[in-house]
């Protein structure tokens, strides 16, 4: 297993795309938090110090580029490209046969890929979270923003877990599809377009609430319940989409979907021709 991990580590660290994707993620996300924190600081300077409630929800929001409130968590979305490439390059460049003749056990190859990709992407997520928090704190400390707090820690856990599951779903999708372009389209289109469309279609069915309620159990909608923590986020969710499932149910559905996708990926990887 150690040898397979070393192989995967070298695989991921000897191509430039890993670095430019990571760099872009950090620059974009930390930069976004920096700009919003700066604008907020100027606003507070001119309009007076914020109330403590106002500043409390801002900390996890700035650390997650507002995914704790609403919208996609951009760091996870970009990090998934690394996961897609981890499997996609094997098939796009005919590397899979070289990989499997270098390591006999397919299960070991499969496990190593998921672990190394998760490790890199989580390091990226943690770095983005910490740096975003730091630049926000630098601007807003005088307005009462704490660098760390209970909310901040809880959001940190939720963000890391959400990202891990998202990255593994992306890896599983690519392994199943064996085409990185199709996998990228699927991983982006499913949560950002297909699920909202399904919800809208079910919402449009007259005189019944059941189909619309079922749509709340769609995997990425459930995943949103994992990363959205703040009261403000939940209120916004309720306003936009009605009553939502709980964090616990969201956790089970999102994790279950990832487990299913990974199980299919493993079975297909061990049974298909390389």
């Amino acid at each position: 297993m150690i040898d397979a991990l070393r192989y995967e580590w070298l695989r991921i660290t000897t191509i430039r795309s890993t670095y430019w994707i990571s760099g872009i993620t950090l620059v974009f996300c930390v930069g976004l938090s920096f700009l919003v924190a700066m604008a907020s600081s100027f606003a507070f300077d001119s309009e007076g110090a914020p109330a403590i409630d106002e500043i409390t929800f801002l900390a996890p929001a700035l650390a997650t580029q507002f995914a704790s409130l609403q919208g996609p968590y951009i760091v996870a979305y970009i990090a998934t490209i690394i996961a897609v490439f981890a499997w996609g390059h094997e098939y796009r460049h005919g590397m899979i046969r070289a990989t499997l003749t270098a390591q006999g056990s397919r299960v070991t190859v499969w496990v190593a890929k998921y672990l190394v990709v998760a490790g890199w992407c989580l390091a990226l997520v943690v770095t983005a979270y910490l740096l975003s928090s730091l630049v926000s704190w630098l601007w807003l400390q005088d307005d009462g923003l704490a660098l760390v707090s209970d909310e901040w820690f809880e959001q940190f856990g939720r963000t890391v877990y959400y990202s891990l599951i998202f990255v593994w779903i992306a890896a599983a999708a690519t392994s199943i599809l064996r085409n990185q372009t199709a996998a990228l389209v699927a991983v982006y289109l499913w949560p950002l377009a297909i699920e909202p469309l399904i919800r809208l279609m079910l919402f449009a069915i007259p005189n019944t609430e059941q189909p619309e309620k079922l749509a709340r159990y769609l995997p990425f909608n459930a995943g949103d319940r994992v990363i959205r923590n703040s009261e403000a986020g939940r209120a916004l969710d309720a306003f936009l989409g009605g009553e939502q499932i709980s964090t616990e149910v969201g956790f089970v559905v999102f994790t279950g979907f990832a487990a299913l996708a990974m199980a299919v990926s493993l079975v297909l990887f061990t049974r298909r021709d390389a």
Binding site: A4, I15, M95, T101
Partner: protein, 312 residues
């Protein structure tokens, strides 16, 4: 290199959509020899190699010194394989590609530099393979196959893209590796090259075994092996040979070709009948002739001569 190993393929089989690609294929590859793996396009050579390495699922087993490929610990130390024309990421530098493979097999980095030097790739070791020619790509693929100093090599069309110097270099390399006790199985369409390089042949057609054994035996079995005789009494000699049940073909006035007999026997028969002989020589079929004869009806995709106006 670890100890010498015999490759034993037994009952290999594979179908695609119900159509058999390889059927009940069994053969051995022995250490200390280059075994040529021949067959027309679509005969199932690449499929067979993938089956041997456990890359494709199918029937049968292949063992390397008694163990299937997937049971080998650090497989590159036992079996080196080249299956693709460019089996690498286009932007991963050549040396990094080999470092990565070495890491999976606990091969020291010093060995990476060694094979790069051996394959003449040191000057481009820090370049991205996307700029490599097909021949350079093949060299990098060969470097990967040799990385673990394996006792067995399985190479699918390794001469693809190599220039004449490169082909000669590869021939000497593979013969040298075989001479040092390794088992080398190599497929190629270059029959003239195979004739110079291979000691044994495995010939397949439509996924089935056609012949397996020493290359000399394969060529000797071809019907084009004959004796050329030039004689001022060629009519008498032809009659005599006909009576003995031999096939005689007139090549030109005064010269005949006799199949199914050795030159010495023809000489003896002529001497016993007081027939003068001016020339007596064995004509041996080439590997290409023997191959075409053996695989004549086993070609998957047959070309046809176009008639006048391009119509068949």
């Amino acid at each position: 290199m670890s100890r010498m190993a015999v490759i034993q393929a037994r009952g290999l089989g594979k179908s695609y959509g119900g159509k058999p690609a390889v059927t009940d294929l069994s053969f051995d590859v022995h250490p200390g020899s280059v075994t040529g793996f021949l067959g027309p396009n679509g005969a199932g050579k690449s499929t067979t190699m993938r089956l041997m390495l456990g890359l494709d699922n199918g029937a049968g087993t292949t063992t390397f010194d008694g163990k299937p490929f997937i049971a080998l610990d650090h497989p590159m130390r036992h079996v080196g394989a080249l299956l693709e024309a460019k089996p690498f990421h286009p932007t991963r530098k050549a040396r990094n590609h080999l470092r990565m493979l070495a890491a999976a097999n606990r091969i020291p980095v010093s060995r990476v530099d060694e094979v790069l030097e051996q394959l003449g790739l040191t000057p481009v070791s820090k370049k991205k393979p996307k700029t490599f020619s097909l021949g350079m790509g093949q060299r990098l693929g060969l470097a990967a196959a040799l990385l673990g100093d394996p006792h067995t090599l399985i190479l699918d069309e390794p001469a693809n893209g190599l220039d004449p110097q490169g082909i000669q270099w590869m021939r000497e390399l593979l013969k040298g590796l075989a001479a040092s006790g390794r088992s080398v199985l190599v497929s190629s369409h270059l029959l003239s090259e195979m004739a110079l390089m291979a000691d044994h042949l495995v010939v397949i057609g439509r996924g089935k075994l056609i012949a397996s054994g020493p290359i000399e035996d394969f060529i000797k079995g071809a019907s084009k092996n004959s004796v050329i005789v030039r004689s001022p009494q060629v009519t008498d000699l032809a009659e005599l040979l006909h009576r003995k049940g031999l096939t005689v073909t007139v090549l030109e006035p005064g010269t005949i070709s006799v199949a199914g007999i050795e030159a010495a026997a023809v000489g003896d028969l002529a001497f016993e009948s007081s027939i003068r002989i001016h020339e007596l020589s064995n004509q041996q079929a080439t590997l290409e002739e023997a191959f075409l004869e053996a695989t004549g009806f086993a070609e998957e995709f047959q070309a046809h001569q176009l008639g006048e106006g391009g119509q068949q």
